[in-house]
Symmetry: C2
Subunit: 596 residues, 2 copies
Amino acid sequence: MSYIAPVKDMLFVMNELAGIEQLASLPGFEDATPETAQAVLEEAVKLCGDVIAPLNVEGDRNPSSWHNGEVKATPGFAEAFRQFAEGGWQGVQHPTDYDGQGLPKLIATACIEMLNAANLSFALCPLLTDGAIEALLTAGTEEQKQRYVPKLISGEWTGTMNLTEPQAGSDLALVRTRAEPQGDGTYRIFGTKIFITWGEHDMASNIVHLVLARTPGAPEGVKGISLFTVPKFLVNDDGSLGARNDVHCVSIEHKLGIKASPTAVLQFGDHDGAIGQLVGEENRGLEYMFIMMNAARFAVGMQGVAVSDRAYQKALAYAKERVQSRPVDGSAKQAVTIIHHPDVRRMLATMRSLTEASRALAYVAAAHSDIAHRHADAATRERHHAIYEFLVPVVKGWSTELSLEVTSLGVQVHGGMGFIEETGAAQYYRDARILTIYEGTTAIQANDLVGRKTVRDGGAVAKALLAEIGQTVEALGAHEGAAFDAMRTQLAQGQRALQSVVEYVVGNAKGDPNAVFAGSVPYLKLAGIVLGGWQMARAMLIAAGKHAEDPAFYEAKIATAQFFAQHVLPQAGALEVSIVTAKGGEGVFALAEDQF
Amino acid sequence: MSYIAPVKDMLFVMNELAGIEQLASLPGFEDATPETAQAVLEEAVKLCGDVIAPLNVEGDRNPSSWHNGEVKATPGFAEAFRQFAEGGWQGVQHPTDYDGQGLPKLIATACIEMLNAANLSFALCPLLTDGAIEALLTAGTEEQKQRYVPKLISGEWTGTMNLTEPQAGSDLALVRTRAEPQGDGTYRIFGTKIFITWGEHDMASNIVHLVLARTPGAPEGVKGISLFTVPKFLVNDDGSLGARNDVHCVSIEHKLGIKASPTAVLQFGDHDGAIGQLVGEENRGLEYMFIMMNAARFAVGMQGVAVSDRAYQKALAYAKERVQSRPVDGSAKQAVTIIHHPDVRRMLATMRSLTEASRALAYVAAAHSDIAHRHADAATRERHHAIYEFLVPVVKGWSTELSLEVTSLGVQVHGGMGFIEETGAAQYYRDARILTIYEGTTAIQANDLVGRKTVRDGGAVAKALLAEIGQTVEALGAHEGAAFDAMRTQLAQGQRALQSVVEYVVGNAKGDPNAVFAGSVPYLKLAGIVLGGWQMARAMLIAAGKHAEDPAFYEAKIATAQFFAQHVLPQAGALEVSIVTAKGGEGVFALAEDQF
């Protein structure tokens, strides 16, 4: 089966939870009405469903391949990429000044979800290009912007991020790649970069590598890293392609999943040095790279939502078709489709509710980003920026951790067939496994959440969100019935649990950093559960108000939220116990290194 | 790196938690002393570490292959199997009357753990043979036992279980394979069986298939299924091999993991019918098959423990070697090995404590099985049998679900390298994924736990175990310090949570089966967490008593238990909330089939 984008659910979140109408009142977003959003999504459905999703299995069976420094993408990918580029999809959220469409990140986020659900491997190429565009727009000179950005937006060229080296993974302080100034404004780059996604391929005529390297005499550590553009082919002043640059793909990795996306080892400067240009100021490369990283982290969070939805769709279709065993309640004498069996139903409801909650949280975050960029009032911009920054590690960390659970349940629903590769459920399980690792592992996200997003402002943003959750709990009190009762009780307990952990984190990060950071991933998961549950609660309230307009749709929203309240939110309490009450941070260090 | 069996940990569990000394007082087990156990384990270490573990990666890269109805095992497997067979390892737990060693299941369990940790794919062949031996010993005629069992124990032949058909997976009522009596005491078998592990291979001279089929006029459903022996080569009266039987391997599956173990589609009776012999009485096949299944389910639980330990060993080695980033507590100015980072430490402690808890619970279950088989007193036998029966679905379901988490953490500890196949961590992640599916999915185990193991006796066994846990909680009160405090508090809460769920299950299974079965997997996980935590608590108490004998070892036991108390046991409360307080069973059915 192919992928059918859940446009109605997406529009519900965009319209009702993320407030797209508000965005249309922001300067520059006048055209971004709900109608525009719907029209864009309906176009994206066609491309993703008809062209890109069908290549997903092929990419797994026939991965991109390396020969003599060149990489061939899976057959069909280059043509699909051409259609993607010609449709203007790379430019959805980028400025019209450089030939983008200038639409809100919220709309782009829904498109990105579709593209990734259709084909994670394929979608990685635009994902990295987006990051390169963001970095150039923020830190590049006008000349650099003009030279690169329109070509990246048109899809004639693609972009990459070159951070990792064999000895420098999560720890960029250890970067060793050198950049030697040539006196003519250019640099020659020498070094080896690994794990470069779409670092070499045949889908575009040029590849713009954004590369972290050290200039001579730069300070040690992360404060001595600069950012460079290193195109595969040098670019002449008229925009035409010049000589082949001295950057070469020496191999690609043999991976567990996302096999169609080539993961390159790039060698810079095997001959005379790869010619690069400084982006922004010397030694500020990490700062610029974080612009790319932040965009990419959010997008990887969307990959988690996307692959979860794809896995859910597949498992659901199987569960509605596969006949096995009589129902436990005696309601039929014959074997029934397995969706009637309680545990299959529980697994599907888990997959569905986690996917919906993580989608809602991510779209809401995207809307905060849009307001942070476009609102006329500086204080409003700042407030929304702070919320977006708080949410990015949660969206990245929580959505991707969920995707491991959801894709695993997807295999489980299929029973023995799930373990057979031809079924396809296993591919999602394999593909998803990178999501909690790249663009910063879950632990890196959790460190960010603790350090820069919670402790630095004394928990101010977290507490503001907690206060809003409290208002939602109150609003739930106006409604009756099992679903609202369950949500009110469980969201209130979740809110208290998150409050307790935020206070613990703020209060102890300086005094007992090991204990606090030992609880950082549990804190991130707790934040995801409570913030995601909050969105589910908001959805319930809206569904109750609009029920008569579309009873079946809104009842399903309420029922899905009820399940989340009963089966997911209770985990918040357990996480709080581990982190705070039971002093779990101590337990992490109870065993000395040599006792392991 | 290869696999180093944790013999000291295994012996600690066997001696202190499972009470091997008691077993040596049982009739027939006089030789099964702690010294014998140690000697056997030390022999097993050599075979598993030196011969079988090194083939694990090779089996993944160069899986068993099918050609023209024949299956070639991975190079090296046949020779390793010869060594396994010649060492007498197939017979460890089988009766001396048929050339087995007659040792307790407890000792065999440790050997099985090692064999599986060394190589899951390889170990599956003996695992299935064990099941065939058990079924023949229970239901076969003396002639059948003499004909097959010594050859299976010697490893000259191997055995298989043939249950599944394309339309009959979890639901054996749908089995269609036919057995037509020939009037000479034999039957001709016609049908297709799928997912037959080691159903065809070149490691032994014959394969004894145990096959479920229906005789003419048999009742519909599971009450009309009989069990047959169908050897690949017919066996002459003198034990020599006769004609090739009409059972053929038409293909093997392309799987996510355990690739070295061929998963066969077997066609019975494409020509004149495959000649088979009835085992036991007609129409009682399912009952006999459950004997095999029960043994196999326990063994699959051990596969979960085993692959978890293997993944833990690999991740630990990497974490002690990989240098990345400075410590968060400022204790070093330079990057340190990643085991110093709190979240890596937390992941390793999670892997370690889950592995130890699931091992302890399984070994304790094995000891109950031994007493159930050998004790002189019938009432004692019955009591221990009931406990063993209660624990089998928990060992199978919980240990294997854990193995998904543990092998996933194993990938995560490796960061980006974990996603590269050459690293090896991904293989455990892929291999483990079948464990929650075959020999009965987790839901099937949970149904068994609810229906036959909890509701049928009104929760009597569960409550007896809960009372014992209560005694352990009291004993913890005699000790001071953070570790004992944490365990006392969390185990007490876990015990209350399990008690509440057992009462709920017993009280509502008849009246509201959908809700109860919707909570069955959460109940199984809760039972695993609390029963596993109980074993960790027992280990702490013993460690406190023996501390002076080996301080480092016993302190590590206490610290590991502390971690389990702080990070795993709190989940018990959340599961109880989902199942009972929040009425999660209702939420599972809140969404109608057509609303999904």
